[in-house]
Structures are given as structure tokens and as C-alpha cells.
Symmetry: C3
Subunit: 136 residues, 3 copies
Amino acid sequence: MNLTLNVRNNGQGLSEITAEVAAAVQGCGVRDGLATLYIRHTSASLIIQENADPSVVQDLQHWLNRLVPENDDLYTHTAEGPDDMPAHIKSALTATSLSIPLVNGELALGTWQGVFLWEHRHHRGERQVLINVLGE
Amino acid sequence: MNLTLNVRNNGQGLSEITAEVAAAVQGCGVRDGLATLYIRHTSASLIIQENADPSVVQDLQHWLNRLVPENDDLYTHTAEGPDDMPAHIKSALTATSLSIPLVNGELALGTWQGVFLWEHRHHRGERQVLINVLGE
Amino acid sequence: MNLTLNVRNNGQGLSEITAEVAAAVQGCGVRDGLATLYIRHTSASLIIQENADPSVVQDLQHWLNRLVPENDDLYTHTAEGPDDMPAHIKSALTATSLSIPLVNGELALGTWQGVFLWEHRHHRGERQVLINVLGE
């Protein structure tokens, strides 16, 4: 079964979507199986990270911005703005799809794990995430 | 169901394989499900990226080559040539497996998304990609 | 079907778990399908890499340590020790989930591929990996 999750964001940064994904998955009625998330974009990505201390995702963002800066002379793909090519590179280094087992009808996340959409561009907007659920 | 795709490449770079993957998947007759791609190598990888403007994949290649240069004094694994250890590192930073939902019998790629095999070595050759299809 | 693999490690480094994963998967009796590994942590990750020459995984570790050093002034998340924030970043750059097709009841790994748990922290400990198996 495939579901669609539309995620609004406030521009560059990690937005936690654990609750939305959990709610969508529970509606499928699968007790034992696999949930796969897929983001239909190439300048935003998916990541599972610590959701307890917000400094983790802030540091992740700052570190990745330093590794992949804007206005690098290497880029030739600049027509869509200075944040576009860095966004493609950041997406390449993180995940377009992610799979999480379903145990007793719940996402089997670890204690400190949350699911995040990582927007790599500055503009606010909406991103589409598909959720595939397989199992019984 | 598992299918095998043999992909010839012209050496280092990203080769789009969207059409080949789509054709293989359609032959399975699954309308609602999940396609998982798996590359059976450790010096080439899989990536979903923008396939509209070829400057995106060119910039990706140049950026990754700068991040992971050949002839770095750090490498001790040098017996298979100067492009070998960089290829392993590049594979580690990108994807060995990728999953894409199947909706109405089609890969549910976003408008700007293409599937690419990313060859990290210089020699021309053939790489093997497995495609697993689950669903109904 | 979901299985749990508890993996002990000796601190930072790559530990091969191919044999443990293969044994767990074979017990499921699935001949044609997909095995998905999922690590329930945010400072350790999963990777498929060359398992023939141990210098590959050593170079991978040294390269990643140089890219993501400890005691970087950028980090604000420092309460859990100097190796904690680098471990989150390293996890973000590698994989939390990995899928491998099952062909004739076996993991369809390439000739040179092994499955590794990559511990990014220094302390010895135990990590939990879930294995989901789908198919027939």
C-alpha cells in the first residue's frame, strides 16, 4: 500500500515528521512488515537522527553547510540560484529512500531516533513523501 | 521477484538507467508495491538525481572528485590503482540500495528525478544491478 | 518477518556481520525476496563494502575521521563527549537502512561485498540491528 504525505517546511533545515509517518502507517493495519519512505525531490532528503536534543540537528545543518558551501566556483549549474547546486549535493550525500521495520504495528525506531525531512533550499514550500507499507 | 540489469558504462560518471529500470519493473505486472535496486559492487553506486539539466550530474562528479581525490597520502589500499580507494569512499557516501514505490504499475519518481548508476572507477565496464519487486 | 541481531563491537570501526545476517535470513525460509537491515541508533550505521582486503575498511575509517574530526569549534552538541557529534554526522553520511535481494534463499551479495556495522563512538558496546525479510 502506498500513501502520500505532503510536508510543509520553513526553508532550509530538518523538520521532524515522525508523528505524521507513524499515524499514516498505523492506518494501514499492518502488524509485521516494512515501511519505506521515498522523497520525490532532488534538493531535499530524508534522515533518521536523534530527536531528543535539538542541538544535534542544528550542528548537522551547520556542518553540512560548511562542507557544501554556496557560491563555490566549481559549480556550473547556477541558473536556479546559489542554493540549488549545494542542495543537489547535500541530497546525494543523504537519503532519498529509507526503510523502517514495523513490529506490532509500530515503526521500530530506536529510543533516540526520529524521522526528519531535510530541506536543502531556502524557500518555504511543500515536499511530497511517499510511504510504502508491505507485510501482514 | 528479482531481475538482473547489466549496465555498461564508459568509465567514471553518472549513467542514467531510468528507462531500463522502468521497463524491467513494468514486466513484473505489479500495480501497487515497491521496487528496490541493489548494486553488487563496492566501487560504483546508485543515486536518484535531477535528469533535466546535465550540468547537475557534471557538478556532482566534480565536487565529489575534489572531496575524495586520488593519490591522497592517507590511503594504504593502493594496489589496485589510484582510483580504487577513492571509489570505495565515494560508494560509502552514496547508496548501495535504493527503493522506489510502484504506483499504478509505474515507478513513482518525482518530475525531476532520474535513476543513475554512478561509476567511480575510470575503466569502462559492466556493472550488475538487481531489481527486487514486491507488491500486487 | 522481523528478526533482531545484537552486535557487540570493540569501539570505533567497521565490524563485519555478513555471516550473522546470512544465518538469520536463511532461518526464515524465504527463497525469493528482500532482506532489509535497520540499525536502531544514530551514532552507528550500516555499510556494504569490500571484505577481501582489510586495508579498505581501515582507510575508510581514517578518511572519515579526517573529514569529521573531533573537537571542531562548530559543534554545540558536546555534552555527551567529543566523539558524539562526529558520530551523528558520520551516521548521516552513511546508511541507517540497507536492502539486499534474496535469490535462491541467499543474500545476493556481489563477490567482494560484505555487510558491516560501522560504530562511530569509542566505547565498546552492543548495537541492535533489525532484519526484515519479505518474499516467498
